[in-house]
Subunit: 226 residues, 2 copies
DNA sequence: TGAAATTCGATAAAATTTTATCGATAAATT
DNA sequence: AATTTATCGATAAAATTTTATCGAATTTCA
């Protein structure tokens, strides 16, 4: 076995490098160093180098990496080349926004269709993606061999939608509902709680503001005991 | 200083406990143990206990924690009690979905208004949230003392929107555009790349399928050399 | 051609995070 | 009342992740 374990943390950063490298002008320099990437992305250069070592062998001292090669290697490694199909259950505002989002193709993803329990939503989105009633879910997934499901229903119905997905061969689930879903062993689950992310940000902000306040107090006590 | 350092990792898990505890029926048991929470959330019980220790001192052996107390303590710690205002720039589908999303209030967040460069979008969302033209951004943020900004514009304009936010007193930014934004020191930035998240999931799935495939090959080689 | 400047890749050290262990405590049971 | 059981909180060990260090490679410049 010469398969090196690639860390979860690295895996999360690779798409960042990919996006950054893609944003560089094709007219720009052919090479780029880990040092330069690190500077642009506000990271440590050693970390960048280590991360890139996981996907590329082509770094040359003093020169760096060939940008286009790196992009290619990252895309290959991350599976952005072979297209994977996915479906969305929950055609509310978020669901429809994702259905019509164009950016997925950059990452080798193709949202096939949406489903919703509300019959009034059946039809298609502004962008032309089909929305079906939930009864057709199983049939369509099985026929097209869909393996990836996105849940954008309210918390109350998320677990039953999740179960439905699992029953119909979905192997990986991206869940936007703010609940912890129970899945059988072997099913991949990733949670994406937007409200919680935002709250965490707000939280960090508050903390920082408190810290600075108390620091100011220390420097200039209103009525010190001296 | 008796301020214990609270780890970044713990901070990310606290909202999960909060959401789970809130989902429990008020008619249910008064107490809950770290063991039970861990089982429900598929985590290690020691980790749960350690995380909870950061916000609560009230765990009793053999009994556990008082559910309602825990919820209260978590909410207080995470700042869900005092409401923070936020604005969104980019009133496309995602932006409008977030504007109308009801779930933020659970987390002490209030989305005040949306902004967009496209005049045709001015007016209000289905849910009744106002959408203004970008020129009014600075004025409104300063008058209402907004500190949190959400970016849902395309990658190309994200940096300039980010700059605009910083100029007008925004201290924390949640960025949905797939670009790395440069912010001055002291500004909090959190990136949320939905496409990349999904791709990561798809990636893990592929990897697992490959692994299983190769395992099967090992167990039953098509034409072994034996 | 030789010296200086960059940068890589690898290894080692430091920091962080997760997991295990164990005595103490409180309730339930005998 | 004593014993058993479940659970906490703390401490220690293990694992993971980040950061630092350093020799070797490669280009640039004198």
């Amino acid at each position: 076995m010469e398969v090196k374990e690639i860390s979860q943390a690295t895996l999360k950063r690779l798409p960042v490098y990919f996006t950054y490298l893609k944003s560089l002008s094709p007219q720009g320099p052919v090479h780029i160093s880990a040092t330069a990437i690190a500077a642009a992305l506000d990271m440590g250069e050693v970390q960048v180098r280590k991360d890139l070592a996981a996907v590329s062998k082509a770094g040359r001292p003093k020169v760096g990496y060939v940008v286009s090669d790196l992009i290619r290697e990252l895309a290959a490694f991350l599976g952005y080349n072979d297209v994977a199909d996915a479906v969305i259950v929950g055609a509310g505002k978020l669901g429809r926004a994702l259905l019509d989002y164009k950016g997925f193709s950059e990452y080798g993803l193709n949202i096939v269709a949406g489903f919703d329990i509300k019959e009034s939503l059946e039809g298609e989105t502004q962008g032309g993606k089909a929305i079906f009633g939930l009864p057709r879910f199983g049939d369509l997934c099985r026929r097209l061999n869909i393996r990836i499901g996105i849940i954008t229903v309210p918390a109350e119905s998320a677990q039953s939608v999740c179960d439905l997905m699992v029953e119909n061969g979905i192997m990986a689930i991206l869940n936007f509902a703010p609940v912890h879903l129970r899945v059988p062993e072997g099913i991949l689950l990733q949670n994406e709680n937007i409200a919680a992310s935002l709250a965490a940000l707000s939280n960090r902000l508050l903390e920082r503001m408190n810290k600075e306040e108390s620091r100011n107090e220390k420097i200039e006590p209103p009525f010190s005991e001296a």
